[in-house]
Amino acid sequence: MTTNEVYRIALAGNPNTGKSTLFNALTGLKQHTGNWAGKTVSLAEGSVHYKKSTYRLIDLPGTYSLYSNSTDEEVARNYIVFEKPHVTLVVLDATSLERNLNLALQVMEMTSNVIVCVNLIDEAKKRGIEIDELKLMRQLGVPVLKISARNKTGFPALLDTIDRMIRGEITTSPYAIQYNDEIEGKISELVPNVKKLVGDRFPSRWIALRLLDGDTSLLDEIQKRMHQEEESTWNTVQKTSGSHLENF
């Protein structure tokens, strides 16, 4: 039996948390890594084979946020929302979780197929920081794994978790931030309308939140993507009707 399915796994995280190191360690590629911000500008891709599957890893640019203040953030956001990877790995720096969890929560609002990797666990240990991953897992509602990309520790458990998530053996319940009554009221007003427009293609609660935030760049992007979709369906319609005409 050689069912070689290809799955897309996106790597997200703050700058300098070791995303590219993890990417290289898993794929065996030599994507440039370095200790400065904004290094990963375009998307690097590489593959890992695990069991009978191929994982196509996509190394997203390192960002503190996904609310699109810059091109980097827009690239990362668009990939997660519109390209919908099968799994998104959020790589966190174990030595500064407080700042890093901001991005994790943002990703969890966009998709529920999230695995949190607490990286640099060796560095944290040196500084006397201990991470209770089970507690984190319970609070976040998604798998949390401790790894050291540099020393290649924690990889078997990570690959196994990816495998089980893809096969639907793990159901996550990502922690959803509850906003104040005013905002929650507006969200429930908007969500049905958002659903009417985009269906289940994109996360409706997240889009409603972006609308309340006045994020016009997101609207432009959705419009662009939906036009493309229409065009491609129109093209197939034309093609099929074209062949019908030939039959006449």
């Binding site: 503190y64 946020s65 609310y67 203040n69 030595t95 500064s96 407080e98 700042r99 901001n102 935030d213």
Partner: protein, 79 residues
């Protein structure tokens, strides 16, 4: 007090970020959130910009922004 009024060695707990739009978002992402504790690290010779330490990272803010972030002084280290 606001962050701009902070002196080197001051430790300030943020109460309010009175900035709107993209810059507000950016500051929140960097850790300037209500409740966060900020250390004043260094002031430029003319007092602008100022370097702050917030959630384990050093970030310099211009007067335009730091003047609009208010908080309370919780500690002061005299040199």
């Amino acid at each position: 007090m606001n962050l701009y009024e902070g002196n080197k060695g001051d430790r300030i707990r943020i109460k309010e970020v009175a900035i709107e739009g993209v810059m507000r978002r950016r500051l929140l992402d960097l850790g300037f959130v209500p409740g966060a504790i900020v250390d004043v690290l260094k002031k430029s010779p003319l007092g602008d910009p100022i370097a702050f330490r917030v959630s384990h990272t050093t970030i310099a803010l211009r007067k335009e922004e730091s003047i609009k972030i208010t908080g309370e002084l919780i500690q002061h280290d005299n040199e």
